[in-house]
Symmetry: C2
Subunit: 230 residues, 2 copies
């Protein structure tokens, strides 16, 4: 039981760390949320490492968490509830996010299904496609609209995040149109580097590139040593 008094509950959002820590914080949030649901209330940095299968060291975890403020108690560990709350604030998981998916082939569809299953705060608010066969279909209450109507759909849907799951040749144009409609963050699955002006955040996911890391090491490092987990 942590008996450190916390009168103010000053939920000031603080984060001194760097961008690269964010996916780790997200992983902590995931396992800690689960631990909370299991009835646990206190945990140590080593305990968190255990929940993560020791993929991250306890030192790294303490460094990351200390960037959020003094949330732990020396000799005791961390109270999980305030930790989860603080992580949610820093990660922006305390609010709804409206997502526009452009390109509703298997990749767009997969992404929609994936995030809808995972986090309730991520809402698929608009779906755009070019293929006539898909237009008019309804995916979980969201209609699939033609990509030509992007401006109309977006201005009505008010999305914060755009997911680009169209062929590389269309990606730049789609990105520009999304940004023109006020979208400030893009997740890009097309193997192209987008060129955009303004306060836009772009995150590229290169699936084929990930595969190439595997093929490289299989081809090159065939006579490698032991189990590698990159």
């Amino acid at each position: 039981m942590l008996n450190r008094l916390d009168p103010t509950q000053s939920s000031a959002i603080r984060f001194d760390g760097s961008e690269i820590a964010i996916p780790r914080l997200f992983a902590y949030h995931r396992v800690l949320d689960a631990a909370l649901a299991c009835g646990k209330s206190v945990i140590t940095s080593h305990g968190i490492a255990g929940l993560l299968g020791h993929a991250i060291t306890s030192t790294q975890i303490r460094k990351d968490l200390s960037a959020l403020g003094p949330l732990g108690s020396r000799g005791q560990g961390y109270a999980i509830k305030p930790l989860v709350e603080q992580l949610a604030l820093v990660l922006g998981l305390d609010r709804d996010w409206r997502i526009a998916i452009v390109g509703f082939g298997y990749l767009g569809h997969a992404f929609a299904t994936f995030i809808a299953a995972r986090e309730e705060r991520f809402k698929v608010a608009a779906i755009l496609e070019r293929s006539p066969a898909l237009i008019g279909q309804v995916w979980q209450n969201t209609p699939v609209r033609h990509i030509n109507d992007l401006e109309n759909v977006l201005s009505a849907a008010g999305c914060n995040i755009g997911v680009i799951a169209v062929p590389a040749a269309e990606a730049q144009s789609v990105a520009e149109r999304l940004v023109a409609q006020g979208v400030r963050a893009l997740l890009n699955f097309a193997p192209t580097s987008l060129h955009l002006r303004g306060p836009v955040l772009v995150r590229n996911i290169d699936l084929a590139g990930e595969l190439s890391i595997l093929t490289h090491r299989l081809a090159f490092n065939e006579s490698s040593s032991a189990g590698y987990t990159v």
Copy 2:
């Protein structure tokens, strides 16, 4: 015209760089292959940077390429053809890769479609699923088989790479069974850290984690400066 004589054509595979360079080499291969198809035969490091939308600096490109050996000519640039060939060798793109996809929901399906469309050297050689509705279907000549038959299917199909697109709870078990069948590289879409013994390469793709980077910056860095491309 490069008039450096190249009598031996000694295609010795060499790569002094580090793992982190591989996705960049893959990007070089992609744009250089396209440039070759357009009839270009020579290019400078700055030219490659241009093809990549200046997402990578010319210095970085020269560093990366120099890890493959002395492929350029000072004052001239790089002959594209040998460059593409050397990149293909180092990336392992000179041979076929047989891929087993476990979990053929939208994600597995998306991945299959994605890589089949992109690189002919990646062959989907086995598809495993749990859902009875999908068993027996045939995707581009590859039948969807029940996950219980994994051992039989894999021993017949002889796959080098496994793609894990099942729920997190099943991922560890699937991974172990793939490894037991001789698969030496895994691409894991499940948000779990896999624990495996032996010479296995694991690459994790955390789609929700990528989203969290966007939500973090939107929530936190709202009053940020200019266009960011992470």
